[in-house]
């Protein structure tokens, strides 16, 4: 690989590009398909992979608009996709802000403040962060079922309940941000201390501004994590108008009401923004991810 003959090299190059192109064709096939399906007539495979009579019907429906077919029949949107999107974004933003606030301050404490039993707490945290919240689903259901009797705003089918559960993502991110704070030179806080800053001021005026990049990473990761959650939302949310995208989208592929074409348009519409955000942020995300979080 270091010293190579030109002929071998050319062959190797062709092989490498050939492999890449074949692999990409396989991997990207679903994306081509879903775009094609979203413009195809009807909700079933028609025997051709390319839409013969392209139609915007599914796209109208995905945007929540009625569509009038050529024969005059009016089709109404089957599900409120935009409302689901709004629910997902709202829950995602609030939960991410909460997670960010809690995990940043805890990470600072674990990195810099001397307190008895810290190592024990850190080890405990590391072990706990491997337990996914979805394992406690039964308890989560029971707890919010009971809390619902106190106040429906905190019970089953409320967004507040869902956001509270998503706050449990902090364990992962305390770890991520702590790793970042640990790499900050201690001379900085020494200097602040000599100038008379309290630990809170050190945190507020020195660490917080420094942490903006990693906080952005944690924010995006939490947001994506929340948007992608299916199990918790499916247990806590019952009515159609409260659903998040992940729970709602599943309704499209019900065996008795199979809306493949409508799903395709809705999936692209809702998936595109998140995909774009992810691609823009990916370079920063990966460094944060390798600190401990796993997505796939």
């Amino acid at each position: 690989m270091i010293v190579e003959r030109p002929r071998d090299l050319r062959l190797k190059k062709i092989a490498a590009h050939g492999f890449m192109i074949a692999f990409l064709a396989l991997i990207l096939f679903p994306f081509f398909m879903i775009v094609s399906i979203s413009f195809r007539e009807g909700n079933f495979a028609t025997g051709s992979l390319w839409p013969e009579n392209p139609t915007l019907e599914h796209w109208y429906l995905a945007f929540g608009l009625d569509y009038t077919r050529a024969d005059g029949t009016v089709v109404s949107p089957p599900y409120p996709v935009l409302l689901w999107m709004w629910n997902s974004i709202k829950i995602g933003l609030i939960a991410s802000v909460g997670v960010l606030a809690l995990s940043t301050i805890s990470a600072y404490a674990f990195s810099r403040i001397r307190i008895r039993g810290k190592q024990g707490m850190l080890d405990g945290l590391f072990l706990i962060q491997m337990f996914p919240t979805t394992l406690a689903l039964v308890a989560i259901f029971a707890i919010f079922d009971a809390l619902g009797e106190v106040s429906p705003a905190l019970g089953i089918n409320s967004h507040a309940a869902l956001i509270l559960v998503y706050l449990s993502q902090i364990t992962l991110h305390i770890w991520t941000i702590k790793g970042y704070f640990d790499s900050v030179d201690t001379a900085l806080d020494k200097a602040a201390e000599i100038d008379g800053a309290s630990p809170w001021q050190t945190f507020r005026y020195i660490f917080l501004p420094l942490a903006v990049p990693i906080m952005a990473v944690v924010f995006v990761l939490t947001f994506i994590g929340v948007i992608n959650d299916y199990p918790i939302a499916s247990v806590l949310i019952r009515s159609e108008d409260q659903m998040t995208l992940a729970v709602g989208s599943r309704l499209y592929l019900n065996e008795f009401k199979y809306l493949w074409g409508d799903f395709a348009a809705a999936a692209i519409l809702s998936g595109l923004p998140i995909t774009v955000v992810f691609l823009i942020a990916q370079r920063y995300l990966v460094s944060g991810l390798s600190e401990g979080a796993v997505k796939g």
Partner: protein
């Protein structure tokens, strides 16, 4: 590491400008939480009350006393971890020792309320009604017997009013508005001039209702139809007749290790459990192996110095990772659909094959692994690219000069160097897939079902999805049994988690030792 020393005493605590403001705030918030705890206790939620009380105490002590200055930073995070993770986990395990299910759903008090509120409607007295507005309240009009009630408020509290002959009120509410007042109507008793009590017996009628059960003692109900005394059995969580017949609904009681006995002793449960257990390990292991191999291979090719269009390839290769997982999984669910899916359309056109991806166990498993590798390889690829960069070039050069082939260089020089830092991440990926509920629930829901089992169990079910199905789908909400299985999953995850802990420590020690 030098740390800010802030936990030792008042001398180290920085002076704050307005201590009274903080103390005032702490007092107000503390009082609010105490009131909340008291309220929860009053409405029979002592457990939540106790938790709120504990949080309130911790809050007041740590934010009130100066000597705990350092702990103020840790408190929010630790409290959140305890309340949002440790408590639900402990609660799940506790539920594993109860008979909580759709048959034993309620508390004891609620069970009695439900049973005593049941009644038999006397059809002779049943008659339609209408509601008329009367100032702030309402009057009930019974057109068949031409009786009109005294004004009532129709709040949810119990009310008893008398009926008297009267004329049709002018303003009758529409049936829809009357239904909206349902909760008030249900707690209303109307007394006719003949001293018969009429109660709401449906959406549209009032009738004389005889309660089916009357509470006749501390742990005793009397059944009106035959006068039998039902005794509360706190072992099974049901009211039982003298000959042992249980009257549903029941309430939640502790059942010790019964759920675990069912898992290990009952044949109909043990059989599918074992196969699900094995598949869970196989699924997680093969997934990690698959994503690691594919990801590493791609990373090695992408690292090759002579390759052009690297950035383009890289962006296209991570696309599966960038799309929200639930959307990709559902897309595959549609593409793989046996009858309407594009994959079978192509396979049929090319080879005349229509594999039954969702009804054949092995094909379903293959499909799941394929989709999971599709979803997961970009992450491994990105990680591998980072780790590959850290391998010193001169090691590889030296080996190449000695005449080693590139494959040999890879397996003897590169791989051994990237495995140790990779290991914790691989273990974490294993743990993640071990509980990869989203994939299974959205793709197959565990199906196809294993034939001949007492409880619904599928060929592609992993332990977590099996538990989910037991608790939340078509099998009588067996929360207790689900909790017991969750405890078993916890044990496995704890072992994995500990292994990861050790691997992480080792990797860290190696790094600092270098």
């Amino acid at each position: 590491m030098t740390t800010v020393d802030a936990g030792l005493g008042p001398t180290d605590t920085p002076t704050e400008p307005r201590p009274w403001l903080r103390l005032g705030l702490v007092a107000v918030i503390g009082m609010a939480m105490l009131y909340g705890a008291f309220f929860l206790y009053q409405i029979a939620q002592p457990l939540f009350g106790a938790i709120l009380l504990a949080v309130a105490t911790g809050f007041v002590v740590i934010f009130g006393a100066n000597r705990f200055y350092g702990a103020r930073f840790i408190f929010p995070g630790v409290a959140a971890v305890l309340v949002f993770i440790a408590f639900p986990v402990a609660y799940t395990i506790w539920l594993g020792f109860t008979n909580y299910s759709s048959f034993n759903l309620l508390s004891y008090e609620r069970t009695i309320e439900v049973l005593t509120s049941r009644g038999t409607v006397d059809p002779d007295t049943e008659q339609p009604f209408a509601v008329a507005r009367d100032g702030d309240g309402y009057r009930i009009w019974l057109p068949e017997s031409e009786l009109l009630s005294e004004p009532v408020l129709l709040t949810a509290e119990e009310e008893t009013v008398t009926l008297a002959p009267g004329a049709v009120p002018l303003e009758l509410l529409s049936p829809r508005d009357a239904i909206a007042l349902r909760s008030g109507l249900q707690s209303l008793t109307l007394t006719t001039p003949d001293e018969i009590d009429l109660r709401n017996a449906g959406l549209r009628s009032f009738a004389s209702v005889t309660p089916d059960f009357v509470r006749s003692g501390e742990n005793e109900l009397t059944r009106s139809s035959d006068g039998l005394k039902l005794i509360a059995n706190h072992e099974t969580g049901f009211f039982e007749t003298p000959d042992g017949e249980a009257v549903p609904p029941g309430w939640r009681v502790g059942v010790g290790f019964d759920n675990f006995e069912r898992i290990f002793e009952s044949k109909g449960v043990r059989g599918p459990m074992l196969s699900i257990f094995l598949w869970t390990f196989a699924f997680a292991g093969l997934s990690v192996l698959g994503v690691f191999t594919v990801g590493l291979t791609l990373a090695v090719i992408l690292q090759w110095e002579h390759l052009r269009f690297k950035t383009l390839y890289r962006i296209l290769l991570i696309l599966p990772y960038a799309v929200p997982g639930f959307i990709s999984i559902l897309v595959f669910r549609g593409l793989f659909n046996q009858n309407f899916g594009e994959i079978n359309l192509i396979l049929d056109a090319l080879f005349g094959l229509r594999p039954s991806w969702f009804t054949d166990g092995n094909l379903a498993r293959t499909m799941i692994l394929f989709v999971n590798i599709w979803l997961g390889y970009p992450y491994m690829m990105l990680l591998a690219m980072g780790f590959l960069q850290a391998v010193p070039q001169d090691h590889k050069k030296a080996a190449a000069l000695e005449g080693a082939s590139s494959l040999r260089v890879f397996f003897t020089i590169t791989l051994p160097q990237i495995i140790p830092p990779f290991l914790p991440l691989l273990i974490a990926a294993f743990a993640f897939n071990f509980n990869n509920l989203v994939l299974i629930l959205l793709l197959t829901r565990g199906g196809p079902d294993i034939p001949g089992t007492v409880i619904p169990a599928g060929e592609t079910d992993i332990l977590a999805s099996f538990t989910y199905r037991l608790a939340f789908q078509d099998s009588g909400q067996q929360f207790g049994l689900a909790g017991a299985i969750t405890l078993l999953i916890f044990l496995v995850v704890a072992a994995i988690s500990y292994a990861n802990f050790v691997a992480m420590r080792r990797a860290a020690a190696k790094r600092s030792g270098r």
